[in-house]
């Protein structure tokens, strides 16, 4: 890529950073430093704003560059990802969003702790939330590093390292200074940019084929070198039975994991009511659905316009398909149009990574401060003896202390993510994302659904279902071909893999549900009827919601 692209892309990206930093300062000018403010932005966002922010949180660079790249390389099999990522939102809409908004306060653990003994469930749910967040975060950081080398041609190790460090430092600034309010606005700006860029490219692709979708399909199939096979399943996952089970496992993790992602759950607290939470999910389903429909057009367009072989030559994983397509649609390399479009795509991709990373950092710092720190430090105070008038003051001081911890936690998590991002820079990003989804689906979703819908669920069941999903998911990955025993593995030299699949979801998700059930029926403890009544009434009516 020529120097023009780089300069322009860097300028546009700097503009994005400047604008978002301006917003961060602006929205945090009259903050009170309360926990409500830091974790939820005061719960004052409208459904539309929150819908855009959710979409911004969800549409990571893996979606934008990764999925269209996969479609350009493998045709129909890449499309299966878009479907899974979108259908997952029905789980969120139907079973999770409203109830979580009514029942919880800041984190996943809040929902469970409504009806369980606080300490054990907070520690369990906090641990798994942090684990999911860090995995997802590392995936994004690694993505940022490889993106810079792909897009700006600065393939040097130093350039990648500095990108990871720069992205990490920026996100810590956003989160510690601006909290949820700034993070949300960054997501909104990014979502608008991303949608605008995608719409523009899609229109250009369709114009190139004079609006004839069939012509687009046939040209894509022709230029892919696979003929009609390009448009039907089997190109990527048609191998042995292991590959097929692996794909089903991934499909399951994608569709069930979304509802357990901590940074998505924390988004429902930024709106005032459950109805607003539902409407924000409706907004985000509209945005995400149309976005994924457009990525299909972009992927097929890249195959048809650029050609599958050229895409593969530029990046084996297909990550540069969309930038290459932009270059071509704008008039080819060296032309002004091509330069501008390429730079825009590159800048949007950076903005995407930065925004997603900030969202996850905030959610994980909430888990550290609100769940882990608050539980490990001391048991939560009961109503203190003495006059009730003193009570709010005690709470307030405690909440302020917690926000300070959350700020430190954000910085700490940023440092950990930078370090891991540098260490893991050669890992496959898609695998890390799939793994984060699998852990979220195995450890977070069972405990969430059981607490919301199962009358007899107990504290022991809750703790078992979290660890019963988390531990198998992580162990299965350690003993999978991803870590050892294959040329692309983390440790290619040794072989201790016993589990054949790359994605643990197919086994670990049922285990999470099973462990919760066993823990509940084996324990002698009876479910607290009154607390269950409280959580059920609260979740469905919004009574007593904050």
């Amino acid at each position: 890529m020529s120097g023009d692209h780089q300069t322009l892309a860097l300028l546009l990206f700097s503009a994005f950073v400047a604008v978002t930093l301006g917003i961060t300062t602006w929205v945090s000018r009259d903050r009170h430093g309360s926990a409500e403010e830091f974790y939820t932005g005061g719960r004052l966002f409208s459904p539309m704003e929150n819908g855009f922010a959710i979409a911004g949180d969800y549409m990571s660079a893996a979606s934008f560059l990764g999925i269209s790249g996969l479609i350009a390389l493998f045709g129909y099999d890449g499309m299966l990802y878009s479907v899974g990522f979108l259908v997952a939102w029905l789980v969120v809409l139907l079973l999770v969003a409203e109830l979580v908004r009514n029942c919880g306060r800041f984190t996943l653990a809040d929902v469970v702790a409504t009806r369980m003994r606080e300490r054990p469930v907070r520690i369990a749910a906090g641990t798994s939330s942090v684990a999911v967040s860090v995995l997802y975060l590392v995936a994004q950081m690694v993505g940022a590093g490889s993106l810079v080398s792909l897009l700006l041609g600065g393939t040097s190790e130093a350039a990648r390292a500095w990108t990871v460090i720069g992205v990490g430092a920026l996100m810590v600034v956003y989160v510690t200074l601006g909290g949820m309010r700034a993070t949300t606005w960054i997501q909104i700006v990014k979502a608008v940019l991303l949608m605008a860029g995608t719409v523009a490219l899609t229109v250009l692709v369709l114009l190139r084929f004079h609006g004839d979708f069939n012509a687009l399909l046939t040209t894509a199939a022709e230029r892919s070198g696979h003929g009609q096979g390009f448009l039907s399943p089997g190109l990527a996952y048609g191998g042995g039975w292991t590959a097929r089970f692996d794909f089903i496992s991934l499909g399951l993790a994608l569709v069930l994991g979304t509802a357990g992602l901590p940074h998505i759950l924390s988004r429902f607290y930024t709106v005032p009511t459950a109805r607003a939470a539902r409407r924000s999910v409706v907004w985000s389903i509209g945005l995400i659905g149309s976005f994924y429909l457009m990525t299909i057009v972009l992927g097929l367009g890249a195959a048809a316009v650029v050609g599958t072989d050229e895409v593969r030559a530029s990046s084996a994983a297909g990550n540069t398909a969309v930038p290459l397509l932009a270059l071509d649609l704008g008039g080819g390399a060296g032309s002004t149009g091509g330069t501008v479009l390429f730079a825009v795509v590159a800048a949007i991709a950076f903005a995407t990574i930065l925004a997603v990373v900030a969202g996850i950092t905030l959610a994980s710092s909430a888990s550290v401060a609100h769940d882990l720190y608050a539980s490990l430090k001391k048991p939560r105070p009961e109503f203190p003896a003495g006059s009730p008038a003193d009570f709010p003051a005690t709470l307030d001081t405690e909440a302020r202390g917690e926000v300070a911890v959350a700020r430190f936690a954000a910085a700490g998590i940023g440092a950990v993510a930078i370090a891991l991002g540098l260490l893991a820079r050669d890992l496959n990003v898609a695998f890390l994302v799939g793994l984060a989804f699998a852990v979220a689906a195995s450890a977070n979703l069972p405990v969430l659904l059981y607490s919301l819908f199962w009358r007899n669920f107990t504290t022991r069941g809750a703790v078992w279902s979290v660890y019963g999903g988390l531990v198998p998911a992580v162990l299965l990955v350690v003993f999978s071909p991803v870590v050892s025993g294959s040329p692309e593995a983390l440790f290619p030299g040794v072989d201790f893999h016993v589990f054949p699949l790359q994605n643990p979801g197919l086994v670990s998700i049922p285990l999470g549900f099973l462990a919760g059930w066993i823990g509940t029926v084996l324990g002698r403890e009876r479910a607290d009827e009154a607390k269950h009544a409280e959580s059920e009434v609260r979740s469905l009516t919004g009574a007593g919601a904050v």
Partner: protein, 202 residues
Amino acid sequence: MEKQEGRGAATVRTDDPWYDAPASGWGELDGTGTPTTPVASAPAPMPATATATVHAGGGAGGAGTAEEHGLGAADIYLEVQRSAAFQEVRRRYRRFVFPAALAFLIWYLAYVVAATTAPGLMARPVAGAVNVAMVAGLGQFLSTFLLTWAYSRHARLHRDRDALDLRWSVFDLTRSRELGTAREYGTVRESGTAARAGERRR
């Protein structure tokens, strides 16, 4: 979808206290982008009859002690949970959500499994270059959009109002507790009936 939302917001705007419940004046934008007017009087949506019942019950018992306060909060939720009005809200929610969730999960899994086990069937052409697999994939998108629309419509028409009435019942019961007045059994049941009467009025 937006139009749908806009219409929904328009029909409930005048008397909809969702926009005013715990903290007021957030100037929420509705689907069409027009600012919603916050409702000024918070307790207004509590049906008059229900409020009267609660207050009538309030006179009977006398001042409660601190212990009763602690017990009372749990009792209120238990009582509301057992009330017919709440059971109805829960039934409506579950009757829609459980079958719908099961249906789309089966439909999605069938789609994924078919793609991996029956590629031949999926490759069968339908029209031009479009084959069964393409149609099924686009069908997933379409069914997601349709179900989203159906669910938000169902919740808006069949659940929101009753849930809100119940929320006010709980709020009122808690308030009368805190004011040191006692409460009689059956209050919620009555106020629940009143809430549904309110819905019928609507």
